[in-house]
Symmetry: C2
Subunit: 367 residues, 2 copies
Amino acid sequence: MRKPKTRKNPEMDKPARVTMMDIAAAAGCSQAAVSFVLNDTPGTRISQQTRDRVLEAARALGYMGTSYTMKASYSGLDNVIGFAVDQLATSPEAIVAIEGARQASWNTGNVLLVTQTLGDPVMEPKAIKALTNGGISALIYMTIYTREVKLPSYVCELNIPTVLLNCYTADHAFPAVVPSEIAGGQSSTRHLITHGHHRIGTITGEIWMQAAQDRLTGYRRALATADIPFDPELVVEGDWSAGAGYSATMQLLALQEPPTAIFCQNDRTAVGCYEALKDAGLRIPQDMSVVGYDDEEISRHLVPALTTSVLPHLAMGQWAIEHLNLQTMPGKRYPITKLECSLVNRHSVAAPRAKARHIFDGAQAPR
Amino acid sequence: MRKPKTRKNPEMDKPARVTMMDIAAAAGCSQAAVSFVLNDTPGTRISQQTRDRVLEAARALGYMGTSYTMKASYSGLDNVIGFAVDQLATSPEAIVAIEGARQASWNTGNVLLVTQTLGDPVMEPKAIKALTNGGISALIYMTIYTREVKLPSYVCELNIPTVLLNCYTADHAFPAVVPSEIAGGQSSTRHLITHGHHRIGTITGEIWMQAAQDRLTGYRRALATADIPFDPELVVEGDWSAGAGYSATMQLLALQEPPTAIFCQNDRTAVGCYEALKDAGLRIPQDMSVVGYDDEEISRHLVPALTTSVLPHLAMGQWAIEHLNLQTMPGKRYPITKLECSLVNRHSVAAPRAKARHIFDGAQAPR
DNA sequence: GATAAATGCTAATATTAATTACCTAAACCG
DNA sequence: CGGTTTAGGTAATTAATATTAGCATTTATC
């Protein structure tokens, strides 16, 4: 609409707006059919094939409706960025990521619009649609648990820059950012190793979850790097809960050669671990070092304060905004970006007691 | 669009879509002028008056653009409710209120769209505009601190049902819901009184804040109800922080007749209070009973767990949704609804020690 | 295997919106 | 005071979209 001048030179019309005619030509049907499909006009019969071809063409050509509505939508408004997350209330990470995204977008005068999907197959499309109604210029799609997602087709059809936060698709069709859990598990374990620990237990989360596997992988890598042999006895499967942390710790303490440090793969597990150690009459960190993961609120209030790793959700939110303008080329593939979980050093780690190490060393021989 | 049949019977056209012609007629200008205004077409000259008249008429008539864009937008979509809050990340209350609102709206198939305003005069209008662009059917306007707000004119002009959450306007032009802080302060204090305490200290927040004043008022009312005289010595002004809680507690302990119980007007203050009591060698609740306020995460992790009052943000969120359909009649006035802060009983309150009470009773006489 | 009914679509047409090309009255101006 | 700007529009035109009517096909139906 800016400079169409369609009248003057019929040869020059190419760069004008995309119309239903163009879509019709591309999809091999009539303008009317396009109108039916795009409006979902009730009472008309269009085959799924044609419907798909039209939507496909509309997306490919970047159809944008009448210019009025779009222009008016944007008037006096910078860009609006949509942020869809499956859960908002269950954990603070979503909030932190949103805050990071907000900060980054604020800087460029963009506004963030947030909605929850709850992974509900009925509500999610509605939520996304509500988001796109106002004409968002980009979408961030976040999940609360790190995992692979299958992006619903209506998200792909949006034809706007999209970034995945804390999740990724198998086809790598969108830029994605997740925490570097492997590196996190590795640095947590290395932290213990550099404090002189050689026998380090770990309590995992539910092992089918990506995060649990990755943290365990990091644990093994750190061990391998330090040439400490991996002992399966020292790995106890938990389920992220304090209760599991308690019994897992008891299990580790019952070992013939108990560890001198425990890497709890989340903070709640560490809470249970603290309880168990207290009940066993062991002091932290003198008798047993503990590290957690996630840097939940509670980790600061435990006594002694828990050394743990912060999930980089703030940085992930910022990253997402900053990488929005990487155009989503159809067919292009993006690597998954991983952001570091940095260790925050508090008071739950110390060198193993000389005595304990002595006993341990001595125990080696008789065996 | 559903049943326009504009052709058949020219008399029956009334319920058809609102077009630019209608707006032009209402505004007393041409369709072209309407187009210019609505599109903000550059290079055209329209007086501010005409511009206003057009916008006014467009709003009044509920102009919705070409049907393509809107129909497609709305298809398969129930109502969308906008939720504007000044801050999302600083405290968990906003999240809780959103969760309440989400639950309530989910039930009726509505979708919630959330945005942050940060009270920023530049961004707030943009954020609200982003919200309304998609055609929200109602708005919830929340502040993180309970306070009076002046609703910006663009909110009033939205002409959609609006509810204020945790804030209110002086003119009572919108339904509003806030926590009943007075009742909360009263029941906290009464809780201590029913446990046998007569000499109850309180540590306030920053006293210029509504919440601090109300909680103090509740404290005085509970005292009055129980015929306990108010002693200004027992009221120490804090600032919601743990640090202030610590020194305020010390101040209370230094009193000639120290209290047997302390009502900390928020949980963080109580954290400082716990510290101070520990340092003074006093046990909770045997030597001193403590109640907090807000039911923050930390209150559950303190030892002993803190008896405190939950802010009813979940209920407030639900209330807001449920009271959205109370039409906003121009000129109508709505009372401010207050929702109860219920006390959650944990382990920081006990009866005053017989000995302490004895000393106290004895001390009365000599005075 | 003829007939009816439904499907899938298009041509033609109606409606709506955007744009160009003026027009008019007041303000300006030497 | 006559000419020239210019703000503030309108009418007419054109582009784009929505809708109606119907036309081939295919798919039951008897």
